[in-house]
């Protein structure tokens, strides 16, 4: 993975010294809250319901075992013994004292991490496929390009005060696990027939109160032109994006207002002036960054297949976990392991300090010290020998992280919601917990098959409800929580925005309503091979409306 050079180290150290001084001046009363708030936000420090919250960047979701141990240490020393992994592949601490935040940033810097640009109207953490560098179906590892974008966008003078925040995602495979069509810029790595590497470029996607899918504005952008082209996009947005209305300030509004064709033409015009300039990426620079992401040497472990078969015979729990949480690795003797942070009845995305340490130990012993955070709020060990899967599984059982539910109905994305978040209108976590508990039976989950359920506690949509096969949006109505259901959303290469199915449900009704939706699908699907999303695309919302609202639906 990427290692800081002298410049990076000096930059982060200087930034922490500056922030420490800002905090000291604030606590001494030398600067006002209005002056201080944008400064703390630039360093990832928010104020939430109960306390401050620190959002730490996990660049493109990649962590080393050493970094994970530091995250555990911070959870123990400065927080309440846990952290929350987010849908932006980051980690949030819910209880830090403002006075401690400079010390936390100093500890993070020891392992080459920081919280810069995890807030504000700037380019945020660049996200990628959580199986990057390991997946069998990958064209190329997207992380070198994400790192190039990270370096270019860090305190970029032209793009630090954009009309609104800006999110870039990069995927290296045709199967989109990075949800690129819901990002301001989505990049899909591809190779031409003659082996040239480049990107399909998507722009103008986003969720929030106005969900819009990105439009493809270029089918192939050569790798060397990455920064000049992205600069052209940002420049067109920076100059033309609205600054008069926060809710219309994202690039998605600009692209949909002027149209993707006009937007693309403006980008191409701007790019003409940039593409042969200093932003053109030299092959040796790409190679130098790529070298940091060179895959580990994976020795042949051909005994894996035999071990797996033996383990499956002995242990039904292992078999279920293997079926659900293992993904094909490009090396046939290895596998990608998804560690579910969605234990039945647990809080989606939360991990205790002890669990973080244990995952770090596992990564060191069995996974070349590599860990990934997924936008689905799980952890991933990207390189585990198949021969070691049983040992890894057994250790995960010990730390209560062996839930075999990746991609199933209980693998729910949920934002922190009203239990923590100052923006939320309704709680998300207890809804997720109750639904997961209702569908706890492994046999029932397997029968249902792949089902992406996503919950947000407000219209800002951090819980990605718009792109859930089943989405739940919590709102406040007459002082009470109410939950709207959307159906048919998807965040993969066949992305779609879910449609509201009808009136909302109270906290007491929502789990029953979700069960009705799932039972309707099970009763009417053509067979087990027809997934929930495939059924919805064939049958539409009508069967669900009928089941949920009966005569009311027919009258409407």
């Amino acid at each position: 993975m990427y290692r800081y050079d002298e410049f990076d180290r000096a930059f982060v150290a200087a930034r922490i010294a500056e922030y420490r001084d800002q905090v000291e001046r604030r606590l001494a009363g030398e600067i006002t809250e209005d002056q201080f708030k944008p400064l703390r936000l630039m360093n990832g420090v928010y104020l939430q319901l109960h306390a401050y919250m620190l959002r730490v960047a996990v660049p493109y979701g990649t962590l080393s075992a050493r970094q994970m141990r530091m995250l555990a240490h911070i959870a123990r020393k400065y927080d309440r013994g846990y952290g929350h992994f987010t849908t932006r592949q980051n980690i949030q601490y819910n209880w830090p004292s403002l006075a401690d935040t400079p010390a936390i940033l100093e500890d993070l810097a020891k392992v080459e991490m920081h919280a810069i640009q995890t807030s504000g109207n700037c380019i945020r953490n660049v996200t990628t496929d959580h199986f990057a560098g390991a997946a069998a179906d990958e064209v190329a590892d997207p992380r070198p390009h994400a790192e190039i974008l990270r370096q270019w966008s860090s305190v970029h003078p032209e793009f630090s005060y954009l009309p609104r925040k800006f999110k870039i995602a990069v995927t290296g495979a045709q199967k989109d696990r990075a949800a690129i069509q819901t990002h301001d810029i989505g990049l899909q790595l591809k190779r031409t027939d003659i082996g040239e590497l480049g990107f399909a470029v998507w722009v103008g996607g986003g969720q929030g109160r106005t969900p819009i899918l990105a439009r493809k504005i270029r089918d192939f952008l050569p790798e060397a032109d990455l920064l000049s082209y992205v600069t052209a996009i940002l420049r067109v947005y920076n100059l033309n994006g609205r600054r008069d209305n926060k809710y219309k300030a994202r690039i998605k509004i600009l692209v949909s207002e002027i149209g993707a064709e006009k937007f693309a033409a403006a980008v191409e015009r701007e790019w003409e002036t940039l593409k042969d300039g200093e932003l053109r990426l030299p092959a040796e620079d790409i190679a130098a960054i790529s070298a940091y992401f060179a895959p580990p040497q994976l020795p042949a472990r051909a005994e894996g297949v035999v071990n797996e078969i033996a383990a499956k015979k002995q242990n039904a729990g292992f078999t279920a976990w293997h079926r659900q949480n293992i993904t094909a690795h490009r090396h046939p003797d290895y596998a990608v392991v998804t560690i579910s942070l969605k234990g039945i009845g647990e809080i989606p995305g939360d991990a205790s300090a002890d669990q973080m340490d244990a995952v770090a130990d596992l990564a060191e012993e069995y996974g070349f010290s590599e860990i990934r955070v997924s936008h689905e709020q799980n952890l991933v060990l990207p390189h585990v020998a198949r021969a070691d899967l049983k040992a890894v599984h057994d250790r995960l059982v010990e730390i209560h992280l062996a839930t075999a539910n990746a991609g199933l109905v209980t693998d729910i994305i949920a934002c922190p919601g009203l239990d923590y978040c100052a923006l939320a209108n309704a709680r998300s976590i207890p809804v997720a917990q109750e639904i997961a508990t209702r569908f706890a039976s492994p046999a029932r989950q397997a029968e249902i098959g792949e089902l992406k359920l996503k919950i947000s506690g407000c219209i800002n949509a951090c819980g990605h409800h718009h792109v859930g096969h089943i989405g739940i949006l919590g709102v406040e109505k007459k002082g009470a929580e109410l939950y709207q259901i959307t159906l048919g959303g998807s965040a993969d290469e066949n992305a779609s925005i879910g449609e509201i199915v009808g009136r909302g449900f109270s906290p007491e009704q929502i789990t029953d309503a979700i069960e009705t939706v799932v039972e309707t699908y099970l009763a009417q699907r053509s067979g087990h091979e027809e997934s929930f999303i495939a059924f919805y695309r064939r049958a539409g919302a009508a069967p669900f409306r009928e089941a949920l609202y009966g005569a009311d639906a027919r009258a409407a």
């Binding site: 604030r26 006002t32 809250e33 319901l49 109960h50 830090p96 009203l418 239990d419 917990q433 002082g479």
Partner: protein, 102 residues
């Protein structure tokens, strides 16, 4: 009826304004405004504390008295007063549970 709430600057702790103009960490210690004049007094005291850099995010919130105890009208404020509903071991509710056990 209203009370005044804020977060303490140094650590973000949820606090309420008491009758002696100190900030207390338990909602039952808050001074209750039964009329507009007292609301104004609370708001002024809160703003002064904000300017003295003691607290941030100062707000008057609606409450009711239920069996003599202060109960916020909005769920958001109930959660601020107690802690996350999904982690009863955290926040003010955890402290209350400990003191009951002691």
């Amino acid at each position: 009826m209203k009370i005044l709430t804020a977060n303490r600057l140094v650590d973000g702790e949820v606090v309420w304004l008491a009758a002696d103009h100190s900030w207390v960490g338990a909602i039952d210690g808050a001074e209750i405004a039964h009329d507009a004049a007292t609301e104004k007094k609370l708001a002024r005291a809160g703003h002064a504390a904000f300017l003295r850099n003691e607290v941030v995010d100062v707000n008057l919130i609606d409450i009711a008295l239920v069996d003599g105890r202060v109960e916020p009208q909005r769920l958001r404020e109930c959660i601020r007063a107690a802690g996350p509903t999904v982690r009863r071991d955290l926040g003010k509710q955890a402290v209350a549970a400990l003191s009951r056990a002691a």
